[in-house]
């Protein structure tokens, strides 16, 4: 029974990783058109390096992911703090709306923001894309941090108040250090959501600011491009290193 379970877990993980592994292998394949193995080569990495449009798009994606994750984390943490700490009208509605936004399909978020930006007369580009990604990520951060805030002892805040701390001081010196792990988790989650998004970016960015998924989308529709394999391999490599570092970091903190 136990062996069966292990085999099953292994098989599902294999299903998740085989397509990625195949891509990594093909990125070193010298052949351009066929899937047949024609020897080891780094030429796709070279042409990737020279493909400035692709590199620019990759950098753009990374910038959007970092900036939107940072803004979302600040906003989401503030919201979580407001929702758990104070009673104000519309609090319940906002809590429910956050949950609904978190569950909304990407396509609904994408087109509803497109309509909003069109009516507001905003030109589609970096700004609108950033706003869209922040909109996508804030509910996740708020809900993750809220879960943590619900879990901690309110006496700590009372104690700080008795010692003369004001609202802001309580937030800065009591709440922030306590929820730091959840905030960090929220940041990573936002970063991941932003990098993984295709649909919302598709609707909310314009021709002036191209991000990686959309660049790849137009490449894939034009047929098979070995550079994509190389690019994905680089992405997987960077990811693995980043996850390794993050994992280390979390281990020391928990």
């Amino acid at each position: 029974m136990k062996t069966l379970r292990r085999i099953y877990v292994f098989m599902v993980l294999a299903f998740l990783y085989i397509p990625l592994a195949v891509m990594v292998v093909y990125s070193f394949n010298a052949s351009r058109y066929s899937m047949a193995w024609k020897g080891f080569s780094l030429q796709w990495y070279a042409s990737l390096w020279e493909n400035s449009a692709l590199m620019t798009a990759a950098l753009n994606s990374l910038v959007v992911a970092v900036v939107s994750a940072t803004i979302s984390t600040l906003l989401g943490t503030m919201m979580a703090f407001a929702l758990t700490r104070w009673r104000f009208p519309s609090r319940k509605v906002i809590g429910a709306t956050l949950f609904v936004m978190m569950m909304s399909p990407d396509i609904v978020i994408g087109i509803s923001l497109l309509v909003l930006f069109m009516l507001a007369g905003l030109p589609l580009g970096f700004g609108t894309l950033l706003l869209a990604h922040v909109t996508l990520c804030v509910p996740f951060v708020a809900i993750v941090v809220q879960g943590k805030l619900h879990g901690f002892d309110p006496h700590l805040i009372e104690a700080a108040r008795d010692l003369g701390a004001g609202d802001f001081a309580v937030f800065r010196h009591v709440v922030v250090p306590l929820v730091a792990p959840a905030v960090l988790a929220g940041w990573f989650l936002s970063f991941t959501l932003s990098l993984d998004d295709v649909v919302i970016s598709f609707f909310t960015t314009g021709p002036t600011f191209e991000v990686l998924p959309l660049r790849i989308y137009s490449m894939v529709r034009l047929g098979f491009k070995p550079e994509i394999n190389a690019l994905c391999t680089v992405m997987i490599g960077v990811t693995t290193v980043a996850v390794g570092i993050a994992h280390r970091f979390f281990k020391e903190n928990t």
Binding site: I18, A36, M79, I94, V115, V220
Partner: protein, 285 residues
């Protein structure tokens, strides 16, 4: 004292404003657009009509919706069948193993889902890995046409969305108190009865969350249908995108989008009902 009051007011005002402008308003705009008439020069004309919703249920459109919904249902079922034993095995593993497996489930998200969809084409095309294995093992004489079929779209969606089913199921199974199972066993229930009458009702909220997180994107992820299905398979997402970007029929696209939101609301209501049922404590009725 004044500074604190200011901080509180700022945070609350910011929260309410953000949610109003980016949470509430966009959805209201889509709802508003869906009851308008489309017009060639200004996109939309306010008309208070339900004709867009009726148009969704006529011949061609209804067919698109029906095939997309059944395709997404198939994807959801595949994910559920694959993910439940996996999550259950995870919940039984030691903490160290759990952490590693959890990480392995999350890592693929760090490569964009379009990239993962593209990886499926590398696997499924005529000279791809699947065909090579089948030929080598002698199961087929000639390579099969796997790509650009609805089966490829199902496979691609299952591949992309499986982690979304695994995570909520794992969270629910992890919280499950093993004493319920023991009690049921002591009272003479067999394995399947325990599963059906004890475990599934208790993890139902997790199952519903997982199904929602798979079923809705399964209707909307138009790029998966583009890359793996070619021109033959159309999801509700492709339909919405085309109404907004190709045919410029915003109201029709908005109506389809509102329909997706309605499906989500149904899911949420069922979710809250299943939560409520557990807290009522009438698991076995």
């Amino acid at each position: 004292m004044r500074r604190e009051g200011l901080f509180r007011r700022l945070v609350i005002t910011g929260t309410v404003l953000w949610m109003a402008v980016f949470g509430f308003l966009p959805n209201m705009l889509v709802l508003g657009t869906s009851v308008c008439r489309s017009s060639p020069d200004t996109f939309v004309v306010l008309d208070w009509t339900l004709s867009n919703y009726l148009a969704l249920f006529d011949g061609v459109h209804a067919q698109i919706f029906f095939s997309s919904i059944s395709l997404s249902a198939a994807v959801t079922l595949c994910c559920l069948i694959l993910a439940y034993p996996f999550a259950s095995a995870m919940a039984r593993a030691t903490p160290a193993v759990r952490r590693i497996v959890l990480l392995l489930v999350v890592v693929p998200f760090w490569t964009n889902s379009l990239v993962r969809t593209y990886a499926m084409t590398v696997l499924l095309n005529t000279s791809g890995l699947v065909n090579r294995v089948l030929l080598a093992l002698g199961f087929v004489d000639a390579p099969l046409t796997l790509l650009y079929t609805s089966g490829a779209v199902v496979a691609g969606l299952v591949y992309t969305l499986l982690p979304f089913m695994i995570l909520p199921l794992y969270a629910a199974l992890d919280r499950l108190d093993p004493r319920f199972e023991e009690a049921a066993r002591d009272l003479g229930a067999g394995r399947w009865r325990v599963l059906w009458h004890v475990k599934i009702p208790l993890v139902l909220p997790g199952i519903i969350t997982g199904c929602m997180l798979v079923f809705l994107p399964g209707l909307g992820m138009f790029y998966v249908a583009d890359v793996l299905g070619g021109a033959k398979t159309m999801l509700v997402g492709n339909f919405i995108r085309d109404q907004f970007l190709l045919t410029r029929q915003w109201p029709l696209g908005a109506a389809a989008s509102t329909l997706l939101t309605a499906i989500m609301v149904v899911f949420l209501l069922v979710y809250w009902w299943s939560q409520h049922r557990i807290h009522e404590g009438d698991v076995n009725s």
